[in-house]
Amino acid sequence: MAKGFDTNQGAAGASAELESLGLSMNERKPVGQQNPMEAAATRNKKPSSKPAKLGRDVQARLGQQLRAMYDEVVNQGVPDRFSELINRLNGDEKKKDGH
């Protein structure tokens, strides 16, 4: 029975952890009498084994990394080769038109 106590405490810890991520364990509360074996299986099931939607925190972090990587290039601005290309093409066209 002492062992069962430990498990419960572990479940409570996991619950607090999930709640801090904005998730709730409510849906996993047993309804009525539950087979002890099933209950144990439910408790031992790790959240990661659920093919659930990504948490908002994970999405936010992935998005942050993605933008940081992308912005690293964006922040390099316009390389000379491209500003020169655009200006040269524009200049050529102007010469054709104007003179």
Binding site: L21, R61, Y70, L89
Partner: protein
Amino acid sequence: MAMDESVRKAVLSAVPSLRAFAISLCGNVDRADDLVQETLLRALANIDSFQPGTNMSAWLFTILRNHFRSEYRKRRREVEDSDGHHAESLKSQPDQYGHVEFREFREALAQLPSDQREALILVGASGFSYEEAAGICGCAVGTIKSRVNRARTRLAELLHVNSAEDFGPDETTRAVLASGE
């Protein structure tokens, strides 16, 4: 015909993001810059077909993406016919982007199917709406949404993240999470 000054400025200001997109597509800075150059030449040669008042960035991204699809993928198939090649080319050039800190992330990104990768970049990094991204990729809005979702899920799998804490100790993350609670 000479470019309107506002058009010239719009093209110029789209270049940095266009480069970032090109690099994420082909995974190599030199090839990406060639791709951008070819895109600009095509765009400027056909500048009359740009409709003033519409999104210049989206127009250029569409040209670049189509050009990449038709030319670069064909060329790459001749050399190597796998997405793994893309990942490998990144591994061998860790300094291509300047910083090493995004390396793991870039490698995971490179392992995504190209459809998913481009959708994720367009929506998640380039700042296009789902509708604009659908226009650029020539597909339905729902298709873009599902590609973005699958890309995020796969990315999380590849990086072994189930919660933001799995990204490791990072003060920025903690600050973001703390402020979000």
